[in-house]
Symmetry: C2
Subunit: 598 residues, 2 copies
Amino acid sequence: MLVTLRDDPAEAEIISHKLLLRGGYIRRISIGIYAYMPLLWKVLKKISSCVREEMAYAGALETLLPQLQPSEIWQRSNRWNDYTKSEGIMFHLEDRQGREIALGPTHEEIITVLASDLLKSYRQLPVTLYQIQTKFRDEIRPRFGLMRSREFIMKDAYSFHSTDSDLVLTYNSIDLAYRRIFKRCGLNVVAVEADSGAIGGAASQEFMVTAEAGEDLILVSDDHNYAANKEKAVSLPKIPVITESGICKVISTPNQPSIEELCDAQQIDSSQVVKVLLMLARFTDHSHIPILITLRADQLVNEVKLRNAVRSHLSIQSATLLDVIPITPEQVEEQGLAPLPFGYIGPHLENKVLHGAKTWQTHFLRLIDPTASALTSFTCGANEYNKHMVNMKWGPLVPLPSQVDLRDAEPQDQCIHNPLSRLQVNRGIEVGHIFQLGRKYSSALDAKFTNEKGNQETFWMGCYGIGISRLSQAAVEQHHDTKGICWPLSIAPFEVVIVVANIRDQVQRNLSEVLYTVLKNAQVDVLIDERQERAGVKFKDAELIGIPWQIIVGRSASIHKAELIERATLKTIELNASELLQYLLQILESTHMGLLND
Amino acid sequence: MLVTLRDDPAEAEIISHKLLLRGGYIRRISIGIYAYMPLLWKVLKKISSCVREEMAYAGALETLLPQLQPSEIWQRSNRWNDYTKSEGIMFHLEDRQGREIALGPTHEEIITVLASDLLKSYRQLPVTLYQIQTKFRDEIRPRFGLMRSREFIMKDAYSFHSTDSDLVLTYNSIDLAYRRIFKRCGLNVVAVEADSGAIGGAASQEFMVTAEAGEDLILVSDDHNYAANKEKAVSLPKIPVITESGICKVISTPNQPSIEELCDAQQIDSSQVVKVLLMLARFTDHSHIPILITLRADQLVNEVKLRNAVRSHLSIQSATLLDVIPITPEQVEEQGLAPLPFGYIGPHLENKVLHGAKTWQTHFLRLIDPTASALTSFTCGANEYNKHMVNMKWGPLVPLPSQVDLRDAEPQDQCIHNPLSRLQVNRGIEVGHIFQLGRKYSSALDAKFTNEKGNQETFWMGCYGIGISRLSQAAVEQHHDTKGICWPLSIAPFEVVIVVANIRDQVQRNLSEVLYTVLKNAQVDVLIDERQERAGVKFKDAELIGIPWQIIVGRSASIHKAELIERATLKTIELNASELLQYLLQILESTHMGLLND
């Protein structure tokens, strides 16, 4: 059932999406919902079987957990509201009894409840369970085909440990398994430090397929010893311009509310200036906390780092952080406060300006980035319109707030591990993510085991995901040319396609049958294209669907010859049938061995 | 991760459900929702791979369709209301854009839309596509573990044809594939004629695992040439008692409204009496049609046949039949009608008694079972309280209504194919169902291909299901004893378990390792139980989880001997290790070959 499209499908934005649609690999059923046709299903099965082998090798056991998840356990872990309301990415429904049920986007809750039920003693630990399963996310903007769809296949694994250090051992062995999986699938993948996001936990690492169409920005050092998601990346900031220090004083800076205007007018470098951002953290319980963020004026604030900083500084807060937004003059007015000197605010802005705020807390959460705290002397707003302070210093009058990394690492920044190496920016498609969850879920769900001393202890947990369906499309994004897909051998829907140029020619049909039978008997995954189509159509289709090796059986079948084409290079050789088989079988074997043994 | 329970779980009603819970195969997460633990997952994978082999052999291609299904296509096939409202077995939700989405309980709609999009020409036909997938049903009464759960694994296949006869060919080849699948899985399965139910279509056949706990009643002839679900079964009714015919007249029968009272008082046999049932068919559009059902008084009405008869006689009706219920005197009164002589109603009851009914149609749909129409003379109600007619005959005054089979076939009835053979009743668990759908869905969804003459034609379709997760439990229901499960070799989670009696005994450990390694190298699926438990616990667990062959390595390890136990028979032999291996490998091979080649 080979059904290809001639024209580029209008719905597709990126090349891999187009090629999968045109090649008949997928069909759209609804927004962000696709049918996996037989050719793609074969790709997905090959990826899955590679994943199963490596997970088994890492000691993990396969299981299958329900897709329907009762709301109660999501309420126990305190994620029900986040997932169904504030972020709203979890599909949910009511059953005929009116009980709320979620469609699983992830399984931390279910597996933790199960582990707590099954793993009673330290002697049963460690345990790693995994499943390959369809997951659901009600994405705000489903797009790019299988890249961000609402129904997708994941491999998700969860590990349970009696100690933190044992968790690290498993985390490292899964890290290795993942590197082997991606390599075996023929993917060029970068492992990057990552933000743990809504999943939570201590350490986490993402695996990124580098590709132009990637939604993530990653920073990689020239020496390849450091790579991180931009959300998380750190770097050495450039050294600030140093000037002679003078006396601290107020200067008049009319109409210089922006850093650019200020630096132009005062003839100073922005690295000598401290900028202050007024933000508002909003929580699910409708509480609001004003935040005063200070960083060097030549630096940009990193929103993910900011949100994490707010979360960790306010860990007592029982409600969940919704977002952090800039405060506007209108909001200040709504709070019944006196106008604030926007554009001229300095780090010494006093809490008392918030006195009488209607719904805000009446003191700032103050955060400072080390780039700002490291300055020995700086220019900043004077908390009065059209006035700045010069030669300002941290000290009793301007106390240092909590220091926390808040800045964006930028391309060309120096790497913190090796100042001689600079960071480069790449785009990446996240295909894997591993987390040291610690005790976040086991604490919330009260999951305990009996330790050697007979005491109850909370599990240490890790979790590990691979986007199976996304990986298949990422492989296309990384392996294609202008004519179509160039599948890596290990995950191609077939290894070889035999194209019978003229199906009415008995000699061509006979030779094709012989080649097919020999290859089949040698366990080669081979397809024969015997459709009643013109030869040109079949050649084009073979290029489009991208099976790694093509055997073209045409007129020279009469002298027992056929053409062998390597799809990736389009290199063609004509060979006697038996030589062709010998050559091809040798190449297939050595390619497979190469992928396994590296 | 072998975690067994000592006590019978309270939630389980039938033995297979108990054994799967106690053996640690499944864990309940919510009502009708189970986690498949690693041992069961292995069983399910073995069943699935057997299904895949046989489906591929029958020429079917594997695919994977979405579980999320947009409501629109269910509206086009006119099943949305049935599935979400009247029967309500389909889970459904609204996404963030407010679009209605169903969780697929079946995939006729999706696959028909896809086929119509992909299969343009008769040259591409026939095509059979299948998938192995988790399905969802919001059951009214989820029960018996995996037997009737709300989330379960199905293999569903759909075939597309240019002609009816081509559909029959594929239907027959899938029938054969199914028989092979069940045989290979070690199940005793009966194929029975079945009602097509809500799926619709012409012919259909169910595959029943015979077991006491089955929810279905099936009737099988002594000669095994006929088997049918009781919902659908036909038989020869017993020959009615014949009496001399007299003059047709009204007799007084005070206080004889029931057949039993009438027969007792009048000294007649119930096979000489015609009984009339007043029923009401209710439809989704709130319309109601009164039905007058006539059958021989010694016969019972079959509700499934009755519903099908109502549907086919009222095929013009655009609404869907909700149910058929007996009419009560209260309902007659509510309709503003004069009281009807309940208990004394005869087949000649006139339509005019319905005149003025508020919401009912004002004429009866009249149906008669052939047992009643075949009577040349009979007793029946006189449509007047305390009066019956005797020696009544069909004719101008009592015209024959539409004849249709409405009666229940009963155990001990004669088989219609062989009157010497009688029907026996069995209980069965439905594990497979195949349907000749005809053009029901392709017409509704306007799915067409171009035929040889260049004209557009509607596809012929078949559909074919196997309950994969249900099958696993049905196997336990058929294969267990008082100590636990006795898995058939082909679908057992492991083929062999090596139980190390005393894990602290180095000799036992060494011998176990050797046996394990040899078996592993011979591709045997072997488990080693090295838990720090008492030997007795491990022996009991081995019996409970039911791996077909146990090797017990105990004290005689010192003389290089071990015990081999066949789980199903509990036959035990002690053998020298190398003899044991030779013997076991031979048995395993011959059992597998036997299953494949029969």
